[in-house]
Amino acid sequence: MLKKIGVSSPWDLFSDIPRELILEKPPRIGYGRSLSEYEVSRIVNSKLSQNRLFLDPPPFIGGGLCLHYVPAVVEHLVSRSEFYTAYTPYQPEINQGLLQVLFEYQSLVADLLEMDVVNASMYDMSTAVAEAVLMALRVTKRRQVLVPSTMHPEHYEVLKTWLLGHDIKLVKLGYDRETGYINREDLDRKLAANDTAAVYIEIPSYLGFIETEPEYIAEQAHKHGSLLIVGIEPLSLGIIKPPGRYNADIVVGEGQPLGLGLNYGGPLLGLFATKMDRKLLRQLPGRLIGVTKTIDSEREGYIMILQTREQHIKREKATSNITTNEALMAITATIYLSLLGGKGLRELAESIWIRSHYLANRLSELPKVRAPLFSSPFFKEFVVEFPIEYKYVFEKLLEKDILGGLGLEGPPLYNSRACLFCVTELHSRKDIDRLVEAIGEIL
């Protein structure tokens, strides 16, 4: 090949790099030599097996991510290498399969949320929240954003970071200690100046409780010309009214419950939806798949649409910088949703609801344990308050091979006796009873 190129050494191809920049020796990387596949797997497996698994019983820890069951068929289909070794489908004719799946993703999530527009994924829920806020700022051209004090503290941090480059007032709304709900007077007060770009609410909230009348918030926000952004948990929508029904403008969520593993927190799947509205659509971040026809009009097919919003065309005027997204996670969610169907989704949501309430009930029978701490309805996660420091309970549970709830000594609750438990379809009655017994022994 070198001869055809017309050089005598491959280094000739690097002659334009200043001499002093060229490394004298190959970098010190890996194990000082190349490894055979067997050696690598032995090394990696031996490292990984030092991690501690909590599968029996399954983990009770939450905080935005919980362990769910990933059906084998989902894993199998996502492993089709035509999907996962493809790039973004820039050539639609040769990637119709991939495009159709992504269009199905958008459509299924849209029907789950009862929203009309869903993009082909964001990185995760935290960045989806940030993008939603940025979008609201662009749409309304206002400079204040209201968020609940009880929101996921990491999401709040992310939002703050993403707003660093902008001159924005990010304001927390007060909440009711009894129910966890946003304080309506505070909301009204802060909306009054008509300078709010968006009100962000979570249903269910980070702490698991559910605001049952978001209509009020939606109306107030809209009355004052701001957008309503809703953060959701997708499985809960098997039993909870979809945000499209209470007039959300933008909906975001974490898609991880839809067939993704935990993977120590990534990759995840940012759900992002809006109303079908010119103004919103023009400001939508991320990729969008749509239906079109062949040039001879004989058949329908799928392409990426509205690319003129995107960075590779619009550059600094783009609606976002995102290009690589979480397509494979979107494929996963598509397959997962099509396996469940509406009824399966409802049954699954119900089963999670039942199991988490069963744990709350059982815990509430223990002396001086407040479970749930908030009086409002909840889904999957809920706050429990113990008579003693939770840190101690958590450590003792670990000794019994149980991964307990997430301590809430930090934001938003700053309550060192409280934790956030997560119960999913994985927890059999026996698993739950085991946790309750263990806690009984510890207290």
Binding site: I5, V44, L77, Y87, T88, A110, M276, I354
Partner: protein, 511 residues
């Protein structure tokens, strides 16, 4: 050169046509327990939730497992990735991803780990990440990396925010970011998201940044410059040390878009070139597959003072234990929730551990050989030209222009791309970078074989011949793919925009 290739063509309807919301292929765990637990509770979701209970089933069509498998298996056959053939999309580094990585990450020892479980319980995984970081530092010449950023663009945003915070902390008002006109679109987009005003720097006829233009752009308002090197033309910025001096002298910073390090990894380091911040695309250079669009993983690294600004938490070793360091006196905070896209990062670890330093360098060399070999093969094909100093070696990629072809025959870069599909090949990136007309941007990476490269060149030659012989069918390609050429204008027409099935139905007057 007759091709009888046909891509699978299933007339696969949408899942909505196949399924029904009453059907499910999912089995609820411990289903038989539910009735009793429900009784024990004494109330139902509907009762508890009241007004916010969902009355109707979601309109999600369910399938039995066998229907599901057939539907998505068939759709997969109508998709095209590196496992099917070359995907020489320039700027994308579509190298082959060894299967060992896929196998090793499919383990409960990764899949079931919760980000909030105690650090002591994930030491094995953290050790992998820590070692990976050391290797990336070695490759970039930086001091510290953050794994937070889930993709390259996100790394850029982090970097831009770091620069903004850096100057804010110093009380300097610098809000201009210099970006070459050849840069990837994410650069200006990220800079803008961080609140910068983008100043475009033109490309000289040598294919590198125009130093004079740079000089006149630099001022006390300049916060920094974002550079890709080798740039998107595949050309190494040979005046980089000069650029560095100029920029740093004005007090501004240098940001390195290392999305694609494939042409120089193990050969030259952005740190040695004087860059302050670098992001890397794990899903390009470091062999995590691209997933049909994602997930990726970005890593953002910094030198010197800038380390303080990296997104948190950072992974550190303390008393022989790996822990997350959340301390943040100057940092920009978090760029996303949790720690990063762990799975692709582990794949990068496996990739680098397998190769070791020598083969990493070899990979870079091979990718550059492949690029220049391809140039040699197509150099004299009528209709294509290599803009910007055609005698300069390219690195990981190259950009040709089909302008002569378009001018002579009316066959555009798009037609060339679409016709390539008909030979069972994936097309290059088209119409980017924007500074080249009728651009075709081609990157074979180190893993394509000589045979594939030669075949690709031959097909390009064949297309040129067909075009010059007046073959009008090139405007109607492809026909061997699962569908014929699609009408991009139609689908984008405001009347037709259908991003979801519910909108699609509405447009067609269905319920």
């Amino acid at each position: 050169m007759k091709t009888t290739w046909k891509q699978a063509r299933w007339n696969e309807p949408l899942v909505y046509i196949l399924g029904s919301k009453e059907t499910t292929g999912y089995t609820i765990p411990y289903y038989e327990e539910l009735a009793e637990l429900k009784k024990k509770l004494g109330y139902t979701p509907r009762e508890e939730l009241g007004a916010i209970y969902r009355d109707e089933l979601p309109e999600i069509p369910g399938l039995s497992e066998v229907e599901l498998v057939r539907h998505y298996t068939r759709l997969s056959q109508m998709s095209y990735g590196v496992d099917i053939g070359p995907v020489p999309l320039g700027s994308c580094t579509m190298k082959y991803n060894p299967k060992i990585s896929e196998e090793l990450v499919k383990t409960p020892y990764i899949q079931t780990l919760h980000p909030y479980q105690p650090e002591e319980s994930v030491q094995g995984l953290l050790e992998i990440l820590y070692e990976l970081e050391q290797w990336l530092l070695e490759l970039t010449g930086m001091d510290k990396c953050s794994f937070q950023t889930p993709a390259g663009a996100s790394g850029e945003l982090a970097g831009a925010l770091m620069i903004r915070k850096y100057f804010r902390d110093r009380g300097e008002e610098r809000d201009e970011m210099l970006i070459p006109d050849s840069a990837h679109g994410t650069n200006p987009a990220s800079a803008a998201m961080a609140g910068f005003t983008v100043v475009k720097i033109p490309t000289s006829e040598r294919g590198t940044i125009d130093i004079n233009a740079l000089k006149s752009a630099l001022s006390s308002k300049t916060a920094g410059i974002m550079l890709t090197n080798p740039n998107t033309l595949g050309i190494f910025e040979d005046e980089i040390l000069e650029v560095e001096k100029l920029v740093h002298e004005t007090g501004a910073l240098l940001y390195y878009d290392g999305a694609n390090l494939n042409g120089i990894m193990g050969i030259a380091r952005p740190g040695d070139m004087g860059f302050d911040i670098v992001h890397l695309n794990i899903h390009k250079t470091f062999s995590a597959p691209h997933g049909g669009g994602g997930p990726g993983a970005g890593v953002v690294c910094a030198r010197g003072e800038l380390v303080d600004y990296l997104p948190r938490p950072l992974l550190v070793k303390k008393d022989n234990k790996y822990v997350w360091d959340y301390s943040c006196s100057k940092c920009i905070g978090r760029i996303r929730a949790y720690y990063g896209n762990i799975v692709p990062l582990v794949k990068a670890y496996i990739y680098l551990a397998s190769l070791g330093g020598e083969l990493v360098r070899e990979a870079a060399i091979q990718s550059v050989i492949n690029t220049n070999y391809f140039i040699a093969l197509i150099r004299n094909i009528k209709g294509y030209e290599l803009p910007y100093d055609p005698d300069k070696p390219r690195k990981h990629e190259l950009v040709i222009s089909a302008k002569p072809l378009a001018r002579d025959t009316g066959i555009t870069a798009e037609d060339v791309a679409k016709t390539l599909l008909d030979y069972g090949l994936h097309a290059p990136t088209m119409y980017f970078p924007l500074i080249v007309e009728e651009a075709l941007m081609i990157e074979f990476t180190d893993t394509e074989t000589k045979k594939e490269i030669e075949f690709y060149a031959k097909v390009l030659e064949e297309i040129s011949k067909r075009a010059y012989s007046g073959d009008k069918s090139l405007k109607k390609t492809p026909t061997n793919t699962s569908i014929e050429r699609l009408d991009v204008v139609y689908g984008n027409h405001p009347r037709n925009v259908a991003p979801t099935y519910r909108v699609y139905k509405r447009l067609r007057g269905e319920k």
